[in-house]
Symmetry: C2
Subunit: 366 residues, 2 copies
């Protein structure tokens, strides 16, 4: 069967249909119904140095119906497959939480629920991504979202033409699923993605994107999949450099790392989410020294140090001298700083001096 020209939706439907057909075949042959799929987790993660992304290895696991340890998970996987198929058939999108409630019910004449907790359906949905080769978004399942964007870009989304430069003080709210967005006009030199909405508000009020012809994008905390995919599409389809602005702490570093290399939980989705050429613009330990931010250092706790050790040991960090130096600086200064500590230098210091200077000097970490 030629699948190349099929839509992801069509492909997903067929894969789900074939998954069912294969299980029926096994049942008819009086075999133990079994699904085979790759192992997820750090034990099956490879860092592909050439591509610069995390990838899933080739360790496989099977999940069988007649196996006490597998039976429940087998059933959950099939239930989620059934929900996915229905969603694709009726062309509706739901949230991860909705899928949980659609699957959750008690097996008749027992006290056993098919699922008790959302982590079970979430995990089955990630399995479904592996089985179908489609992203969760393509399977019409959305996660929580947050984030705003502004810049000289015009898009079409669900039939609406949206101009990111004319969104008032709020900006356009970034959806969970950005697959169907069409870029009509993209007039931008670079993108600054920041982990804090308050910093975005600062840059937006200063009309940084207008003065410097760029896009500013933010979420609150962890980068959502919607934002990662939107950044990736802008990078791939329009060849726009992306600079990431985070707190100078291990969590900020990891936010950057997930955008660049991918995450352990979603290594199977690296291809659709990672952006290997993304660069880190700050905050760095050097900024702390150069801009006299030492008095704004927040003391490192045991958790910070433990996480720093863990991240330093990851394959994609352990040979990265520039970053290991940053971790050493954090330990030497016994502290971390937030982006907003730059406010101590003046309200618009970040827009007027800090970012333009970094970009002019191309002073990035990678």
């Amino acid at each position: 069967m030629e699948k190349k020209n099929k839509s992801p939706l069509q492909k997903a439907k067929e894969t789900l249909y074939e998954l069912g057909k294969d299980l029926v075949r096994q049942v008819n042959k009086i075999e133990n119904p079994t699904i085979t799929l790759p192992v997820r987790g750090l034990t099956n993660i490879n860092y592909n140095k050439t591509k610069g992304t995390l990838e899933l290895g080739d360790k496989m696991a099977s999940r069988s119906f007649f196996n006490l340890g597998h039976a429940k998970k087998f059933m959950q996987t099939l239930e989620v497959a059934a929900v996915s198929k229905e969603l694709l058939n009726i062309d509706k999108h739901v949230s991860l939480r909705d899928v949980f409630y659609q699957v959750k019910r008690t097996i008749p004449n027992t006290n056993i629920n098919i699922v008790d907790d959302q982590v079970e359906t979430d995990s089955a949905i990630e399995d479904m991504e592996l089985i179908t080769g489609c992203s969760r978004e393509q399977l019409h399942i959305n996660a929580n979202r947050s984030g705003s964007v502004a810049g000289k870009v015009i898009i079409v989304d669900r039939g609406d033409t949206i101009d990111w430069s004319k969104m008032g003080s709020g900006g356009w709210s970034i959806p969970s699923n950005v697959e169907e967005i069409e870029f009509k006009k993209v007039n931008t030199k670079y993108i600054i993605y920041m982990e804090k909405m308050a910093v975005w508000d600062r840059l937006h009020q200063d009309r940084y994107w207008d003065k410097h012809n760029c896009i500013i994008m933010s979420s609150q905390g962890q980068t959502t999949r919607g934002i990662r995919r939107l950044l990736q599409r802008l990078s791939n389809e329009h060849n726009i450099p992306i600079y990431v602005l985070c707190d100078w702490d291990i969590y900020g570093t990891y936010i950057y790392s997930v955008i660049k290399y991918g995450s352990i939980a979603l290594a199977h989705a690296s291809e659709r989410l990672t952006i290997p050429n993304v660069k880190y613009i700050g905050i760095t330990g050097d900024d702390v020294i150069n801009y006299d931010l030492k008095k704004h250092l927040i003391k490192l706790g045991d958790k910070d140090l433990a996480r720093m050790k863990q991240v330093s040991d990851y394959e994609w960090f352990k040979d990265n001298k520039a970053w290991l130096r940053q971790f050493r600086l954090m330990k030497e200064l016994k502290g971390k700083v937030e982006i907003q500590s730059l406010s101590a230098r003046g309200i618009t210091f970040i827009s007027d001096t800090y970012l333009p200077l970094k970009i002019k000097k191309q002073d990035f970490l990678e």
Copy 2:
């Protein structure tokens, strides 16, 4: 001095100037510099039954420079007043976190910082609202924000004309400060505000706002001040009924309560934030029974029960029979349910049946 026709900005500037002038006068008279302001907290909160809002009582407290217990707080208040005055002069907005960093520094030749923690500046900013009679937003200080909106409304914000019905799948991102938004066209029968973005995404995909001629608005979790003020402005200026959709648990109840009556911490801002005629559309214990959601009950924990006791005792709940009945139902059923549990009845059940029926029957809690 006639202040009625002055802009809030002008008034705030003058009040801050007078605060400074008064302190200078006290110093020149060799008095102990003292600021007097109302006590904040549950001991000075009254529930105004006629207006249906929480109000600050008339207990006053003074804060003096030559008083070991007051000196630091006195200084913090003045530092924040100075930052506020600068913000108004240069007409820039900053975040709560920025104010903290602008105030934070070590007093020369000591080891004492003016502030060590953001709660100190946050509290001084709330004092500044009391002193100036201006909201934090009018003082150009913004908090974290989140939330999306869609509906047949056209606004002008910072010179941009924004059509809430043409925002694609994301919706318009609600800013922290909505004071200067101008409503150009408002064509809507009611507003549904919900505590969960995933539910908003559901209603938006089903184009609920288009079919029923209403506005849908959401944040993630606690309602931000920006959203509360936006809802209030739509209610006051355009006389639009507002229905609040929350999880059936004590936290959902309190989200509704804050929108309707105000909050303890911000009782002084009630006038600018509360919406006494807002109604609660669901989820209710009756929905749990009528729609057979019992299997989706999540067990109540000790925290739920303790908070329920606390809320039941609040003056603005203790005589509300409809709500006390809901609390009894929660205890009888030993559980709480989430809005999304309605998904178990069908993906679009909430849009096709649940909400239209509630509104047709005017089946609300107050």
